[in-house]
Structure formats: structure tokens, C-alpha cells
């Protein structure tokens, strides 16, 4: 969803950092995207290509760290792994799972020169 907005958010973060720290070029951008963040990775890559053009991060490698989804199952009272929001609890088979982790979308760090 809204991958273009996310790409623009990433560019904004990179440009803010460049203004603060005075680097001229970004060679790598490391992202952390949760499995339940609803981000279409291929679309994000496409949007980043477009958005980073003519910026300090043009041509930068995009490294992606995927964090696993977790949820709290109200049925069995345990934290369980979740691959998708519509999945049943792997322990009890119920659908009382509230997503608790894996929804983050962050810029972790940059390699700059």
C-alpha cells in the first residue's frame, strides 16, 4: 500500500540526515520492514528507484531487513508467530490473535561518503 508515500518518507529521512551531517552521497540505505506492515516490497523498490533519482541517495543499494510478525492470542494467552493478519493461531487454531509485532517500517542506517 501507499509505497510511493513510504518512498518519499524514506527520502525525507535521508535528506534530513544529509542536511544535519553534511554527507554528499549515500551508497546504502538499510530498512527494517515488518512482515505485518502491509508493505509490498517490490512496489517499494520500484518507488524508491523513482524517488531517489537526482537525490543524494541516487543509485544507493537498498538493504532490507524483514522482521517477523508476532501476535498475542487471546484464546491461549500466548505470544505466537503470525505470517498474515488473517491466519489462525498456530497453537489453538483460533482467530483471537492480536498483532503485536512486525508492523514496523523504519530506516535503520545509511552508508555514506
Amino acid at each position: 500500500m501507499h509505497e510511493m508515500s513510504l518512498a518519499e518518507g524514506i527520502l525525507q529521512i535521508v535528506e534530513d540526515a544529509a542536511a544535519r551531517q553534511g554527507f554528499k552521497r549515500v551508497t546504502e540505505v538499510r530498512l527494517e520492514i515488518g512482515a505485518l506492515a502491509g508493505v509490498e516490497i517490490e512496489a517499494l523498490g520500484f518507488c524508491l528507484d523513482v524517488v531517489l533519482k537526482d537525490s543524494v541517495a541516487e543509485g544507493a543499494r537498498i538493504e532490507l531487513e524483514k522482521t517477523p510478525g508476532t501476535g498475542y492470542c487471546l484464546g491461549c494467552g500466548e505470544t505466537v508467530p503470525v505470517n498474515a493478519l488473517y491466519e489462525a493461531c498456530p497453537n489453538c487454531g483460533g482467530y483471537q490473535v492480536q498483532a503485536t509485532g512486525g508492523t514496523e517500517m523504519r530506516v535503520k542506517d545509511l552508508l555514506v561518503e
Binding site: 500500500m1 524514506i10 528507484d49 523513482v50 537526482d54 537498498i62 555514506v112
Partner: protein, 319 residues
Amino acid sequence: MCTVCGCGQGETRIEGHDDENAHGHDHPHTHEPGHAHSHADGATHSHPHATHFHQHQGDLHYGLGPAHAHAPGLSQERMVRIEQDILGKNNAYADGNRKHFAEHGIFAVNLVSSPGSGKTTLLVKSIDLLKDKAKVAVVEGDQQTSNDADRIRATGAPAIQVNTGKGCHLDAHMVGHALERLALPDDSLLMIENVGNLVCPAAFDLGEAHKVVILSVTEGEDKPLKYPDMFNAADLMLLNKIDLLPYLNFDVAQCIEYARRINPKLEVMQVSATSGAGMEEWLAWLTAGLDVAIAARQQNVNLLKKRIAELEARLAVNG
């Protein structure tokens, strides 16, 4: 333009992209052959370069994880730690809006749904029934036209239209600007009608108290499974157009069960703006929320008054 939903705030950048990519690419691509996509004109076709993992730039590496080692010392490269939420800027604006709402006793709800779920009709009906009891104002989000805001203004309630252009969702910054224009009185109910889209608005906090997802019974009961992010983000689901149930094969219980698979805490109300069924429950939910917001502001005001009185008393003693 975004391949999923066509959204993006920086339209000039998108234009630029279209120009840049209108020509062919001569570098290798790794996607599977026959990748198809749709265009705004309705045509669907295969593209030799539809997905964009260019070998010469912008590679995406999957699953390298935290163990992936950088060696910044070996070149002039250095690492800059960022650790920032990609939507952090939106969230900061949302916090600003939320603070504004709290200070002014405003109960803000963010209405989200697919296009055609009956959001605006439901809104008009709700305002009609509420306008003698509460101050109501509306922020209307649509890609284009002020038709919906015009429909709201016809009820007598103030409304501001936000046209998102290519954007597929309202963001907190747009809503902040709309608030400046609306000049909401204290203790009012603000209904934010988001762009008709069951995907993107899920991720954008506008500073609202609750997201309310509206699903009409003409849509199919499995929509919560198809668009889980939105049903997960919402606190209340309004099942709308229930006056049409006799003419449809819509399984209400199944729909609610699907929605609660996604979000076990989801509240559900069945309503019809046309027949008025269920409206009482929905309006009671709104006014209860508004009462809480007003009481919180009043409590805040009382606290401030008490502090002023204490300071004045100290001044009187010392002065």
C-alpha cells in the same frame, strides 16, 4: 506512480518518473516473464520491465538480516545510524492534531471504506440527526471534486474538502491544514471522511480517536479477509445498507466472524442510512465519545483554573 495504488504526494516527482521510464531499459531484470499490470485507461498488458529490481542500482536484498556485515573502515564510507520510523513525520503531525483535539474537547473519527460503501450518505444522515444535539464538522477527502463537501454543507454543517490529487489517502498534515481552515469550536464532533480506499488509509494516523470502517452488504462478506490491514486498524465496523439484505446473499454472521478473525476487539454495528435502522446505536456511540472528550477538556480547564487560583493566592501573600 506507485504500482499498487498510484499514490504519492510529490506529483512532480511522479511526472518526472514517467518521463524517465518511458524509454526502454537495456539492463537485465529478474522478474518472471509475463508480468502483467493495469493502466488507468483499463488496459491490462504484460511489460518486459514492469518490476524494477535494476541490476545496476537499487537492488533489494532479501533476508540478509542483522548479521549482514558492513565494512565501513575499508573505504571512505561511514555508517550513519538513523533508526527512524518511515511514517514518523506523519505520526508527529498526527500527535499535533491529537493534542489540538484534546485541548479543545474535540472527538475526531476517521471514516474509512471502499468507494461506494455509502459513507457520505451515512454522514449526511448522521449530521441531520445530530445537529440539534452536537456541533459537528467534516473534513472530506477525495481525489477530486468538492461534491461531497457540498453535500455536507447542504446539511448546514461546516465542511472542508481536501483533494488529494494523485494521493490515495489523507495524511495528518493535510488534516492539520484543514483544521486551520475549519476553526472548529470547542466541544465538537469532527468526522473525517477519508478517501474511498480500503488499503492505504490504514497506515496513516490522522490524530483521530478511532478509525471507523464502513462495509456495505453489497460488497461481499469476505472483504475483511481481503483487506485485513484496514479492519485491523479500525475500532468499529459499521455494516451499512442492511435494508438491502432481503435482496442479497450476504451472510452477516460470517462477515462479522471474518472481521473478528482479523481484529478480535472490533466492535460491530449494523446500520442503514436509508431506513434509519441501527442509527440510534451509532449516534449514541458518537455522542458518548464526544461526552468523554468534552469532560476531559473540562477537567483540564478546571485543573488550570485551580493552578491559576493557587498562583494568585501565592502572589497575594508575597506581593
